[in-house]
Symmetry: C2
Subunit: 167 residues, 2 copies
Amino acid sequence: MTTASTGGPRWLTDEEQSVWRAYLHATTLMEDHLDRQLQRDAGMPHIYYGLLVHLSRAPRRRKRMTELAKDAKITRSRLSHAVARLEKNGWVRREDCPSDKRGQNAVLTDEGYAMLARSAPGHVEAVRQAMFARLTPEQVRHLGEIMQVIAAGLQPEDTDADLPWLR
Amino acid sequence: MTTASTGGPRWLTDEEQSVWRAYLHATTLMEDHLDRQLQRDAGMPHIYYGLLVHLSRAPRRRKRMTELAKDAKITRSRLSHAVARLEKNGWVRREDCPSDKRGQNAVLTDEGYAMLARSAPGHVEAVRQAMFARLTPEQVRHLGEIMQVIAAGLQPEDTDADLPWLR
DNA sequence: TGTATCTAGTTCAACTTTCAAGAAAAGGTC
DNA sequence: GACCTTTTCTTGAAAGTTGAACTAGATACA
């Protein structure tokens, strides 16, 4: 039942509710699926794998902790723990930042890179099967646009340029 | 760069990669956003809130543990811990299942229901602002269809009816 | 210089999730 | 009934996450 605007709380329409449920359902299953796949084939959860991917793309395969945390959308605290674990695995190592003595670079080791090279094909295949193999090209395009819009709305603005009180 | 079919591992096209990144980005931000919103306004993470919602919709506001776990797409173990926590809050209580002495029902208490009634409007508003307020009606429809397809592909088939070796 | 403030990263404790193991009841088969 | 298997749910330990507190170094400014 769709509530007309009576002054009470605004609920979602039937369609919105159904879309929201589908969204939660699909995203939960996807995350579980990939976590399991990577835990099995690469010995780490999805987010840790993502950290290695980020590092592999960075110049000289290294990145400042804070920047990496920002890229991966996790807190610095969580990153500290994660890097500690990945270091224990030998896939990442920390190195002092030469220009800022507070800073640390997380560096993808050769072993880390090799692990990534080994597990990437399987992971990509899992992603393809779970998502792209099932959608039409149009749906893929739509999904991209929709996700861009949602992310933009939730993204904390990191540029102060357009904050009125700083104009 | 899009790899042609050379026999090596099949990568994603540029567009697929970009859509995949957008998907990960948006879903991560959304989950964080809602977790924070509910932790702040209802004192529990999103998934726990979801459990209360499920119970509130169930007949007599109660449900067998296994069934609840299935609905919420979490393991029974996780549910056991979660219900223990919610029980401590006074929002849920366990009750023996009369027909099966192994069974337990999770029951939404009046306090739990009140808590839900109190926090639901804010949560719905958060969902609306994060998603539906930013999408066109067409995008909402597309998103629903896309999520249905993805969920269907990942959903473990619980009917054995069509397994070939049981035919 | 001195001092106040900010930033980078870590650490701790509390909480949540996972995985493997286990207790208890139910269901099947002889 | 006895026996074996399956289902239901819980438990405990290990792993991961969170948010607040903390250290050390950078930055700003008088």
